[in-house]
């Protein structure tokens, strides 16, 4: 209860630090989500509608990667971006960019695997029509994505949920640096380690409220668009 009232107080007093951290969380996770969607949606669709040897294996691989622990992704991206690593010359470690890369790596398989499921069931329905109309390749991928857009919002929300909630990857590649790479989850971890459990919990409540807002927004837009379509 203390945590909830503390969360409420932080929000209504427009606590400057809180909003800075919150904004970085949103920025990082939405950027990662955009990258992941641009790669994951066409990839999942392509794997659903084409047939080639090794396709089943690719889908299996995506499903396995869905269960990748964030801390492992963080470690891999850290080794890549570290000054001693292959991309060290770019100087990206401990920056929001590094956090975006890590989260994009984490959620691309989720979006690809889930959208693969969605499109696969659609494909059974559409394949004959598309075949007779000669719609193939990139045009077919685009057509499926447009037609399945409402069902795909759930895939995208799942990706966003995973990104905004994870702490393992961003704390390694971002370093939880104050005013630079501190996001909601790493702030919660820090406050917990300071023993400020009430504050930590209230930050959790704020994060949950943010998630609620994003989900409500996306679902609201979807409902509205669907209604207009059939009106």
């Amino acid at each position: 209860m203390d945590a909830l009232s503390e969360a409420f107080r932080l929000i209504i007093t427009l606590d400057e630090d809180l909003f800075e951290i919150l904004w970085l969380s949103i920025r990082v996770s939405l950027s990662a989500l955009t990258i992941a969607a641009v790669i994951g949606l066409p990839l999942g669709t392509y794997l659903a509608i084409t047939r080639f040897p090794g396709r089943k294996f690719c889908i299996l691989l995506l499903n396995v990667l869905m269960g990748m622990p964030p801390v492992v992704v963080g470690l891999m991206v850290y080794l890549l971006l570290s000054r001693a690593g292959p991309l060290g010359w770019m100087g990206l470690l401990y920056s929001p960019t590094a956090m975006i890369i890590a989260q994009a790596v984490l959620i691309t398989p989720i979006i690809a695997a889930l959208s693969n499921q969605v499109i696969e069931s659609l494909h059974q329905e559409y394949s004959d029509t598309f075949y007779s109309m000669g719609v193939t390749g990139g045009r077919a991928v685009a057509a499926y994505l447009v037609d399945a857009r409402y069902a795909l919002t759930t895939c995208i929300l799942a990706g966003f949920g995973r990104a905004i909630a994870e702490v393992g990857a961003v704390i390694i590649v971002g370093g939880n640096i104050d005013h630079l790479t501190r996001v909601m989850t790493t702030a919660i971890a820090l406050e917990t380690s300071k023993g400020n459990l009430t504050l930590a919990l209230s930050l959790g409540a704020v994060l949950l409220a943010l998630s609620l807002l994003v989900n409500a927004l996306v679902i609201g837009v979807r409902e509205y668009a669907q209604k207009r379509q059939y009106a």
Binding site: D178, L190, K194, N196
Partner: protein
Amino acid sequence: MKYLITCVALAFSAHALADTIIVQSTTSTQNSGLYDYLLPMLKEDTGVRVNVVAVGTGQAIKNAMRCDGDLLLVHSQPAEEAFVADGYGAYRRDLMYNDYVIIGPEADPANLAGASNVTEAMQQIKQSGAKFASRGDDSGTHKKERSLWQAAAIDSDAGSGQWYLETGSGMGATLNTGVSLSAYVLTDRATWIKFANKQDAIILFEGNPALFNQYGVTPVNADKCPNVNREAAEIVTQWLASDIGQSAIGAYQVDGEPLFFPNAN
């Protein structure tokens, strides 16, 4: 595409080079609130912005060895001296000190309050059958704790998972675990004073010379890591060791208690 990547990278590194350094740090200096207090002053005096990555001493040193930092601020003198000897650090300076304390449940089943020295205290913990929560993460505090078990001729690893609990986490997380389990914990005094989830735990053993805790500052060697911001790291080191920096460190208090005592050499 390659051109674009180079541009982006340049934009980022130019921003990073200007007047910003990364400090690979121990957790206690962050958890105790020292950086929140000290860094704004440092920024005002020197213009250098310090980005702190707070991990355990062991991990901080490893990160710095990969050139992912300009300055090392940790508390394990032998490890820091090895870091310099191996060429990773330019030099090492003492910065400040405080001490370790052993905290535990107020009931004090191991009667630490009656121990006359730290070796006796460690033996009493083992004999009482009480639990002990260890960092288990190769941090400065963990290294110190292991040396205390060794001095007391106790093989703590043999009791791992039974009475000796290695959390593998930071100081704060280990305190959370220890306090919840009514276990004894070796902690630096600064983190303990600032720690907000004490419940019924109190300091039960303190004030022994063996519990001295020295913090040092070590600029990363530019010969080994050409990317380091040598000038800014030097400015920050000088400021921390200067009269202004030292008196600022000494003036930092929580609940009326100083947390760190300046002793730069």
